[in-house]
Symmetry: C2
Subunit: 196 residues, 2 copies
DNA sequence: AGAAAAAACTAATAAGTGTTAGTTTTGTAA
DNA sequence: TTACAAAACTAACACTTATTAGTTTTTTCT
């Protein structure tokens, strides 16, 4: 018994999950093979199965870990006493921070979820729909309370979430644009626009 | 000789391309098989090769057709005599319109380009970088000419392009949110924000 | 050291991959 | 009708896929 630890404090399964996320990100889930993953982990493909159930289980783990992470956070924000605009701002900042810290996993959850099998696919989409609803309710309450102009809350939610998702393209130019500038500018543009 | 026409005015190659775009969109390039595509076209897999060169050529055709379409449009906008803010607005509206009209192809170009082989991958990324540069220059000139607040032009460009790309999620709720509302609201939010 | 469990290995399976060769059918033009 | 080309077909090739079975090595605990 006794989980073998690779590295500091991470089980071998966690190592595999992390490398899988990185591989799925760069090659996409379907184009990534278990042999390739095994190579990266430094083991034969069949040995992976001592630690994981299947390839699709890897995808499930990545997607749901990320999904619940976001869902949990938005519940916290919901119960805070901030104004609605502040709640939206917090959502945007959390997205950017989480994306910067867990890039591979967030990327995979955003892009490869469609390869989930049922019932996981449905479950995942429900999580996402839930999350979207929460953000929309911030916008709608904000309109009611005169913090926000009268806009279509669905479009505003879509615009915000799409914009933050776009951070995946930022990766490359980390040096040129510091995270703080990106975060502040994006929040500002989404809430206040860019015109004078 | 004599191109056999399927449908009205479309060659068989065009039919294949269109169905390939739809298939690549829903299953992703790697997970889509030529036998599957053949089924949809109504033919045996090997027969496809009377009309196309290879699977990867299909992806190339889709990506570059879309890429040049956007590049061409932004060149036109560049040469117009509109203000910079108007130019940006035109870009956003063109994105939304093109996305609504050619959804499959735009989606594939946005998501599956990474499966392009060299030298096409490099070429495609150059097209995209070019496009991004043009949009950035609208923003920068807009700042110089006091139309636009002092923002980081890279972040603003990223925010705009990411937001419009997010239209892929809109598809489903076409009925609830008409295209005009979406277009106007998105332009408005990206340029003027949503706060009061 | 000896026992037990964990995790690695080799080898194989059955199914699926893009693509080609060779052949037959279909459609067009003389 | 005869000729020719376009486009369909069947069959096969050479690989790659995820995964399992069975075995051996490594690690851990007593």
């Amino acid at each position: 018994m006794a989980k073998i630890l690779t590295g500091k404090n991470t089980s071998k399964k966690e190592v595999i999950l992390q490398k899988a996320a990185s591989l799925f990100k760069s090659k996409s889930y379907s184009a990534a093979s278990m042999r390739e993953l095994a190579d990266i982990v430094g083991v034969e493909a069949s040995s992976l199965y001592n630690h994981i159930g299947s390839k699709s289980e890897l995808l499930q783990d990545i997607c749901f870990k990320t999904g619940y992470q976001f869902l949990e956070q938005i519940e916290k924000i919901k119960n805070s006493s901030n104004s609605n605009v502040e709640k939206i701002e917090t959502v945007i900042r959390f997205h950017i921070k989480t994306m910067a810290e867990n890039f591979d996993e967030v990327y995979v959850a955003n892009h490869e979820w469609k390869h989930l099998e049922e019932p996981y696919l449905t479950d995942f989409l429900n999580i996402r729909r839930n999350y979207e609803k929460s953000l929309m309710s911030f916008i709608e309450t904000g309109i009611e309370e005169k913090e926000i102009r009268l806009v279509n809350s669905y479009v505003a939610m879509l615009t915000i979430l799409s914009a933050v998702r776009g951070l995946e393209f930022w990766q490359r130019s980390k040096k040129n644009v510091p995270l703080q500038v990106l975060e502040n500018d994006m929040v500002n543009q989404l809430l206040n626009g860019i015109t004078k």
